[in-house]
Symmetry: C2
Subunit: 386 residues, 2 copies
């Protein structure tokens, strides 16, 4: 297996981008990553996108987007695992470079979510749940995660103040991120007094509906050294992918994200790392409870200790293990197919020491964890800088 490096990153300012189409925001991110790498073509394009069919009426997306930046003819593939589609795009690019099937891959994620009305967006997102066992009966994602939160609270004593602390931390981080959708600080009181969405989750416990795109350039470590002589190489050393039942009804344990644990174990094993080796982490905080459960599933904290850890500031920038310095899905925004790629963009920025006011000092090993649905799939990548 060939070693793989990241030599370019790009993303757009996440938000409600009414004035731009899916292809426009994708092209902006892709061209930014190409420019960052100093390249004008690639061997392969991977596109993570959850549901361009339901959100924009367009499938066959990878070919369409290749053409959009003048690369019609170049091999291109779309991958999907609901909100973990971006992570899968990274994995697909990694596999092609590792195998020697491609030397340089443009890895991208994109979602245009605001061009449909609210009900249609809720329906489209709901297709990440089991339609026959969940969606058909009327439940949507806030309700699914509210059930996970209730089980976690009952099992471990996790509090609504601890959930709120995730939102407060991530908005504080996102306030420092020029690309974040909601650059505003919030207080514990504001979170606790926000509109109730699905008890115990309130509006500020939920990630928003977002348009966005992000991109990376992957190549071999040898080619990275040749293209950027004298610069430290950021390598992708671990990759783990796992699934779980997508319906909660069949889940072995609702207090644990099994797919995240398994994907993490696979990534740690491949990289030869353990949780205590990490300096910076991005996790999939689609709801505040998701961040707490993800940090536990990844072994950053023992089961039940994710809530106290965030409350004690252990996951803040400057804390024991900073989580979501980008602002996370909560503040940066959650264009579902783009999220997994944007997480890796943040980790690369951190490992390069280019994260500005949200820089985690001395970050040399980072992890990005992306998740589909209510934990039905997860993709974890570990990156290291020399």
């Amino acid at each position: 297996m060939r070693e793989v490096a990241v030599i370019g990153i790009g993303m757009v300012h996440f938000g409600e981008l009414w004035e731009k189409s899916l292809r426009t925001i994708w092209a902006e991110a892709a061209l930014a990553a190409l420019a960052d790498a100093g390249l004008d073509t690639v061997d392969l394009i991977t596109v993570g996108c959850m549901s361009p069919g339901l959100f924009t009426g367009q499938e066959h997306l990878a070919s369409l987007l290749a053409d959009e930046i003048g690369l019609a003819g170049v091999p291109a593939t779309r991958v999907e695992s609901a909100c973990a589609s971006g992570g899968l795009a990274v994995r697909a690019g990694l596999a092609e470079v590792a195998a020697g099937l491609a030397d340089v891959v443009l890895v991208t994620g994109v979602e245009k979510m605001t061009d449909v009305d609210g009900g249609d967006a809720t329906f489209a997102l709901g297709t990440a749940a089991d339609q026959e066992w969940e969606g058909f009966h009327g439940i949507t994602f806030p309700g699914l995660y509210a059930m996970l939160a209730r089980v976690h609270m009952a099992r471990y004593g996790t509090t609504i103040e601890q959930l709120a602390a995730v939102a407060v931390k991530n908005h504080a981080n996102g306030f420092l991120n020029p690309n974040a959708q909601y650059r505003m600080r919030v207080t514990i009181e504001e979170v606790l007094n926000a509109t109730l969405v699905a008890d115990p989750l309130r509006l500020l416990d939920c990630s928003p509906i977002t348009d966005g795109a992000a991109a990376l350039i992957l190549t071999t470590v040898e080619k990275a050294r040749a293209l950027k002589p004298g610069q430290p190489v950021v390598r992708v050393t671990g990759s783990g992918l796992a699934t779980d039942t997508i319906t909660l009804a069949n889940r072995a344990d609702l207090a644990e994200l099994g797919a995240v644990r398994r994907a993490g174990e696979r990534a740690y094993a491949m990289a030869g790392k353990k949780p205590s080796d990490l300096h910076v982490v991005e996790v999939h905080d689609c709801f505040t409870i998701a961040e707490i459960m993800a940090t536990e599933a990844l072994g950053l904290f023992p089961p039940g200790q994710g809530g106290p850890a965030v409350e004690q500031g252990m996951t803040a920038i400057g804390g024991r293990i900073p989580v979501n310095p980008s602002g996370g899905l909560k503040s940066k925004g959650h264009p579902v197919g783009a999220t997994g790629v944007a997480q890796v963009v943040e980790i690369v920025s951190q490992l390069r020491g280019e994260a500005g006011k949200r820089q985690v000092q001395g970050a040399r090993v980072g992890l990005a964890q992306n998740m589909g649905g209510s934990g039905g799939s997860s993709v974890v990548h570990i990156l290291e800088v020399e």
Copy 2:
């Protein structure tokens, strides 16, 4: 790069499977492939499916399907490139095994197309075209391929009798295939007198709407020998992927399928083969003109000679180079996401000498060509038996 072999195949009888859901037909094909390989689990599942969101209201499909056969937890990924999604699933599995990221992969393709009404199916299929440049203006796929046919007829003198000869041959082959949707022979006169759909294409020039699923098990050549000692190993020796503009308006030449040519060139180069080395070929005959153009793009015949070749019987079973012995999309049916996997299932059957009445004698090298939209993407695989 590790060498990759196929050790199991399975598919369902294609058709209008009103009594079965997407997950049911997928599970039948997947379990058949696992049984054929003598395995009960795998390291990874890949799923090719064009639009489960629009056809069935369900995304996050790979996790859902892993759970359906008791493999929740196993890594699983969906890939999409419109009607070339199945070919992409083969490619994704190949890359993972070649890279050493997985040892045994269940590669699958599936589409459930008949659970929506006709207009919704036409809309869903139309998302494989460029929505802004094509779909929005009302054109659907028969019209797009009719334009390609008209250009080919004007450039090369291709006749409607030659188009009809493709349908006659493929229905004759499909009549011999127990898994084909339309097991009926047709005559040139019947094709020429069928209802006009989009001039010059008539009903019998078009592939049908189909429910279906197909599956393969990929592993390393070493593991294939260990699992099936004494049996000849079917290897995947070439893989090529390419795109083109998905809108015809921007296509360099409407008389050539550029993505097919490029994907073919890449697959031939990887396998070290040329067109004359092939013994059996499956091409993407979504319309009769598509088969003629694909055989030319793959170098089986010079440009403009694909029509005369089929008319002269050169592509029949027993002819110089048999094309679509399975019956092709035309007779076997075209469940879009399943098609690319089913093509490889046919080639493996042929190379194993297990194709029954449609067996191509002495077939040792085969090629499968899958295509998205009106040629906006294509995936080509070359397989060989020792």
